[in-house]
């Protein structure tokens, strides 16, 4: 009896699996978890329900780093997904893989399979970040964030501050008041991203030679030789010593926690962070990240795009790519773009999505969503809209390694930044050898 039962079970399982094979499967791997992961599954479900030829199967692989490592391992084993989400720091690696036939560029794909969403449909800043040196789009923009300043308005009101700081000078002036009232004035969650990469973009400064890697393969970073950057870190250290800035270790969440608990007045985080705070922190606003007035002379420049893009991987059948093309078209529609923007706080990435948002007066209903698009589309920058530097995930490690001793005074700011430059130059050289 038992035997018969188990045979029946096996037969049943097979009949179900074979059933799902009647549709063409498209595998999409991603590196978001929690709520953001749920939204990705929902997008796939909506696509699957919208037609009956293809099934998109989303698989979460953990963090961005985990997903990139998993995608690479899968490719080396000849078992790669069709579509994979790779983050900003990995963009240089992915763009470099087009020539090896690992990645199919978005524009080539659009041309071959007639995707209705073409490159011009994406917002210029976002489009350029995932393009090759000729400006041809390679990655398909997806979750695009940037660093923003979250402010606890209740704390500000309590200490008698009316408006949020636009510049670091303004922040510096109000920090003692906040501190005196028993609050931490400022916390932030990502040194390399917020206070390094985006420090340079926010102040219209070049971060590496070779025009941020857009004109030539970069050989060094310009940390120690950029006076504004040295000044900034000296200030950060001063704030840290005075208790204007609180450092809570490397984990993103540990630095966000004081803000969520209502103990910190300002937190620098990602555009996509407010989802978890809505309803938890009573009265907060989402604002542009400050800049040094003394550096830009009162001008405000855009920051780089953070987050990730989806990349098309080679090695699958025509039929499957046709399905993927349909899926890309689906995700690029104004409705889906706005849906994603609304759910997550990531920027809308298509012109259609932004137009739709304006038509329905979306930003009046939800002012939280406004800052990201505004800050990204600021004009007047003379530097490229991104950086093309290989081994960047490791360079971020080098930055982290030196910030901690800089803060606790083990090494001077100048020495720390020089160490970063040295470590980065070695890693850039290493990457250049593999090209």
């Amino acid at each position: 009896m038992k035997k018969i039962l188990s045979i029946l079970t096996i037969l049943f399982t097979f009949s179900f699996t074979s059933h799902s094979y009647s549709k063409t499967e498209i595998h999409w791997w991603y590196g978001n978890s929690g709520f953001l992961g749920d939204v990705i599954i929902e997008i796939a479900n909506r696509f699957n329900a919208s037609q009956d030829q293809y099934t998109v199967i989303p698989t979460g692989k953990g963090s961005y780093e985990d997903n990139m490592a998993a995608t690479i391992a899968a490719f080396r084993a000849g078992d790669q997904p069709h579509y994979s989400q790779v983050y900003d720091a990995g963009a240089a690696i992915m763009v470099a893989q087009v020539k090896n036939g690992v990645v199919i560029g978005f524009e080539d794909m659009a041309e071959k399979y007639g995707i209705k969403v073409d490159a011009d449909n994406y917002i210029p800043g976002i489009k350029n970040f995932y393009a090759d040196s000729d400006g041809k789009m390679i990655g398909v923009p997806f979750n695009s964030s940037t660093c923003l300043m979250y402010a606890n308005m209740d704390i500000l009101k309590k200490v008698g501050i009316e408006s949020v700081p636009k510049t670091y000078e303004e922040f510096e002036a109000m920090a003692p008041k906040i501190k005196a009232a028993g609050y931490i004035p400022l916390v932030q969650s990502h040194f390399p991203w917020i206070w390094t990469e985006n420090f340079f973009s926010r102040h219209n400064l070049l971060m590496t030679d070779g025009n941020n890697g857009y004109d030539a393969v970069p050989t060094k970073t310009l940390f120690a030789e950029t006076d504004a950057f040295v000044m900034h870190w000296k200030k950060v250290k001063e704030w840290y010593e005075k208790g204007f800035y609180g450092y809570k270790g490397r984990a993103w969440g540990d630095n966000q926690a004081p803000f969520i608990a209502g103990e910190a007045a300002f937190w620098f985080g990602s555009a996509a962070s407010f989802g978890g705070m809505k309803g938890v922190v009573p009265n907060f606003t989402v604002n542009h990240i400050p800049y040094w007035d003394s550096v830009t002379g009162g001008k405000e420049y855009p920051t780089f795009i953070g987050g990730a893009a989806n990349w098309i991987l080679n090695g699958h059948t025509e039929e499957e790519y046709k399905g993927l093309a349909k899926f890309i078209e689906f995700m690029g529609s104004p409705e889906m773009d706005l849906y994603y923007h609304n759910m997550t706080g990531y920027s809308a990435v298509t012109k259609g999505g932004i137009e739709l948002a304006e038509t329905i007066n979306f930003y009046r209903a939800s002012p939280y969503h406004k800052a990201v698009g505004e800050q990204l589309s600021l004009e007047g920058s003379t530097i490229p809209g991104g950086y093309r530097a290989g081994n960047w995930p490791q360079i971020r490690e080098v930055i982290y390694e030196n910030v901690e001793p800089m803060l606790n005074g083990k090494i001077s700011i100048e020495k720390g930044l020089k160490n970063m430059d040295k470590g980065a130059a070695k890693l850039l050289k290493q990457f250049a050898k593999t090209l």
Binding site: I93, G249, R250, A257, P405, K433
Partner: protein, 292 residues
């Protein structure tokens, strides 16, 4: 003497095949692959691989972070071995003397061994979190404990997290060792010497030496290789890479940094280190041990 001779056939190879297959696929092939990676430079996807001789090794020797990881790994394995060995021994001796409920003590003390290192790390997180960590606040009151800034404090964090589970392993082996000592030897020593402390150090402990030796090797290997999950779920190497073990650094460079050449070279360095330690132990320590 009668010689037993089996008829030669191929069947023995057939029986050996599964085991050999496993060894080849899961042990030798990865080792060969590691050597290949260590001497080549390639991009993340494995393209453009060029043979570079010892460039990857020079690269890691030129990296201060590598020596920080090296120093930490040595300190970490030494302290973990010492702490887990001594507490494990203490508990084993006490549990061995218990008259009632012996097996209950035993079971309870063995339990932590079944917990995966990553889970141990997550639990340690609760104790050392700045927001709600009991130990964090206790230590903070005592001397301003702050593991993400002070190297010493972060050592304490990962040492406590790393030791807890391994104490169980030491306990069970020491207990088994104690129970294997012949009753008659213990009884004879009780007649000769009234001082139980002296009796332990002159009779029991020397008889436990084989177990101790075995555990030293096990503990060092544990601290070297198995604490990966603990580091990854506690300090992630903070402050500034001071609590990164060699394995963790190889992982970071290989899988986060996507530099397989450097990770391969680091793996080979690790093989050499373990080889040296083991040879040293068998050469100089084992000679002083009496197996019954």
């Amino acid at each position: 003497m009668k010689k037993v001779q089996f008829k030669s056939s191929y069947s023995q190879y057939l029986f050996l095949a599964p085991q050999l297959g496993i060894l080849l696929i899961f042990l030798y092939w990865p080792i060969i692959q590691t050597f290949k990676d260590a001497f080549t430079m390639q991009d993340a996807f494995g393209f453009g691989a060029t043979f570079v001789w010892f460039d990857n090794f020079l690269f890691i020797f030129d990296d201060p972070a590598y020596f920080i990881a090296f120093k930490f790994t040595i300190i970490y394995s030494f302290v973990i071995t010492l702490i887990t060995g001594s507490i494990g021994l203490l508990l084993a001796v006490q549990a061995n003397n218990v008259m009632h409920g012996k097996s209950t003590y035993k079971t309870l003390l063995i339990w932590p061994y079944a917990i995966a290192p990553a889970v141990v790390g997550v639990m340690a997180n609760y104790f050392f979190s700045e927001r709600f960590g009991l130990l964090y606040h206790l230590f903070h009151e005592l001397w301003g404990f702050n593991w993400y800034e002070s190297v010493f404090d972060s050592y304490i964090y990962v040492i406590i997290a790393g030791s807890w589970k391994q104490i169980s392993a030491n306990f069970i082996f020491f207990l088994a060792g104690l129970q294997a000592i012949q009753k008659s030897v213990i009884e004879a020593s009780m007649i000769d010497c009234k001082n139980s402390f002296r009796r332990f150090w002159t009779i029991t402990f020397p008889l436990l030496m084989p177990t101790t030796f075995f555990l030293i090797i096990i503990n060092i290997t544990y601290a070297f290789f198995d604490t990966f999950g603990i580091i990854d779920t506690t300090t992630i190497g903070a402050p500034s890479g001071e609590t990164r073990t060699l394995v963790y650094k190889a992982y970071m460079d290989g899988f986060r940094g996507l530099d397989l050449g450097s990770a391969g070279a680091q793996s080979i360095m690790m093989m050499l280190i373990v080889l040296v330690i083991t040879i040293f132990q068998f050469r100089y320590i084992e000679g002083k041990i009496h197996y019954n």
